[in-house]
């Protein structure tokens, strides 16, 4: 198990909704500068795991820490200050706010007058968003909203980017675009925790992966090794 002090360390995490156990004692870690994919089918417990990190659902865990700081020691709205940013499932951008204000909200914990060109860097990463600067985000297409959700998360200058199914509902071309951006971010040294049903995409973007089924880790290993694993290939890559 991850004894590394740096990065994200989660040990024996469980999440229940009343009688329904969604996550049953899973452990994983994302080393500083590294990346981890969590893949699993509908209802495997992927989103519940991420919500637990951000204190958005009740959970139990032996350890849940980032850079040695326990995530449970902070109220949910302070977790972003540790350098973890969240791209929630279904984008969850603020539909009535302009694209610019959505981005600013990503930097809510920083003084908006001193963002040092952060917004320009996000627009450089997603050139297609710039012309919608003053447009209500609800008017954007699904792909643009996903880019905005990622851009919004980047506005906090995170060390770890946590993404919940960024490819969901997007056309293959758009998935390629987003994959390209995530790859660039990885090259810039941003750590990544990527939750996906799209195993192929995830294997291509991460160093290591865990496979979740019914709230338990059933496989784990390097992404390259999992991609070649016959069982995983059959179930998750359909070949």
């Amino acid at each position: 198990m991850g004894a590394a002090a740096g990065g994200l360390v989660v040990e024996n995490l469980s999440v229940s909704y009343g009688q329904v156990a969604a996550v049953r004692g899973i452990s994983f870690s994302v080393p500083d500068g590294g990346s981890l994919g969590i893949i699993g089918a509908n209802g495997a417990g992927k989103s519940s795991t991420l919500k637990a990190l951000f204190g958005l659902v009740d959970s139990r865990a032996d350890t849940m820490a980032f850079q040695g700081v326990s995530l449970r020691s902070l109220p949910p709205h302070r977790i972003v200050t540790l350098g973890i940013a969240y791209v929630p499932e279904g984008r969850r951008i603020f539909p009535g706010l302009t694209v610019r204000k959505n981005l600013l909200m990503g930097a809510y914990r920083q003084p908006w007058r001193r963002l040092d060109g952060r917004m320009e860097r996000v627009y450089e990463l997603f050139p297609g968003l710039k012309r919608f600067d003053r447009t209500p985000a609800g008017a954007l297409s699904g792909g643009q909203q996903q880019m905005l959700a990622i851009g919004r998360a980047l506005m906090s200058s995170p060390r770890l980017l946590v993404l919940d199914e960024p490819s969901m509902g997007l056309a293959p071309v758009l998935i390629d675009d987003i994959a390209g951006v995530l790859r660039r971010l990885r090259e810039q040294g941003v750590s990544m925790l990527l939750v996906e049903q799209n195993a192929k995409l995830t294997f291509g973007l991460t160093d290591r992966c865990v496979v979740l089924e019914n709230g338990r880790v059933v496989e784990e290993g390097s992404s390259a090794a999992l991609r070649d694993d016959p069982g995983v290939r059959r179930i998750y890559l359909g070949m």
């Binding site: 951000f54 709205h77 204000k101 600013l104 809510y108 914990r109 919004r152």
Partner: protein, 289 residues
């Protein structure tokens, strides 16, 4: 023709007060999904506090109003803070809590100011100004000016300040707002403070038109509430339009048929609501995921 304009001016000036009350209901509702039933009594407290500073302490009206805004704003924070533990358990409990708070405020007003009302003079000499055949009183103009300024201030706050932007973000998606770093509970408290401050303005302005009494919240509160529903509960532009329409309908029905004015107003309201159940601007539901 002049009669129509004349009546419209009167309707708009009372309508402006209803709009202020309605905006207070709406700002809390859009952020929390909660109908704050104590709001009507906060209007009453605002009226009393203004009157106390203005008539008893002989402070200028502007200063009295400002003091009332601050005091009711703080009262709003207290209401939110006391009822906060109920929010995570059941919003209906919190709603009942606001009803309870209203009763407490009314009793408190009786203890402090007595159960009889006070007649309040207008803060400025109420002179008729003639524009051709049209007569507009200076107090009507004052109401419109103050209500307009407060509304502009609210829009500026929501649109141009960081806290206001965050409050809007909370209304749209409280989970995403939390993940971005917004303290939703603090934002809710601020919504209560802003709504209550606006209630004080409404109370202070309406004081000279009505009698300031512990029970005054009931009548003005119900009209502000109905105005908010008419405009689309939770919508700020809806609250403004709803308030003005309500004031106009009331003014036009009270000329020839004054005894039935309230009845007619509420019948028109009920008809409007059967035709368009979401209200004029209503479409969104409040996010409580």
């Amino acid at each position: 023709m002049i009669w129509i304009l004349q009546t419209a001016i009167g309707g708009l000036s009372t309508g402006a007060v209803y709009a202020l009350v309605a905006m207070g209901f709406s700002i809390v509702y859009r952020t929390m999904g909660l109908v704050n039933f104590a709001h009507a009594d906060v209007v009453m407290i605002g009226a009393y506090v203004t009157v106390t500073f203005f008539l008893t302490a002989h402070l200028p009206f502007g200063v009295s109003l400002l003091a009332a805004i601050l005091i009711t704003g703080a009262l709003g924070v207290v209401i939110e803070r006391v009822l906060r533990p109920l929010e995570s358990r059941d919003l209906n409990l919190m709603l009942i809590g606001t009803i309870g708070f209203g009763i407490v405020l009314e009793s408190l007003a009786i203890l402090i100011w007595g159960s009889f009302g006070t007649a309040v003079p207008t803060p400025i000499p109420n002179l008729p100004l003639r524009f051709g055949g049209l007569v507009v009183t200076t107090y009507q103009l004052l109401i419109l000016a103050v209500a307009g300024a407060v509304t502009a201030l609210l829009f500026w706050f929501l649109d141009r300040t960081k806290l206001g932007t965050a409050m809007q973000a909370v209304a749209m998606d409280r989970v995403a707002a939390t993940a971005m770093g917004v303290d939703v509970a603090a934002s809710n408290a601020l919504a209560f403070a802003v709504g209550s401050g606006m209630a004080a303005v409404a109370g202070a302005l309406v004081g000279p038109l009505l009698y300031v009494s512990p029970g005054m919240g009931a009548s003005i509160g119900v009209k502000g509430f109905a105005a908010a529903i008419l405009g689309g509960f939770g919508s700020i532009p809806g609250a403004i339009v709803g308030g003005l329409v309500f004031g106009l309908v009331e003014a036009f029905s009270s000329g020839p048929l004054s005894a039935y004015s309230d009845l007619i107003t509420f019948v028109v309201f009920a008809l409007a609501m059967t035709i368009r159940q979401t209200g004029i601007f209503g479409e969104r539901t409040v996010d409580r995921a």
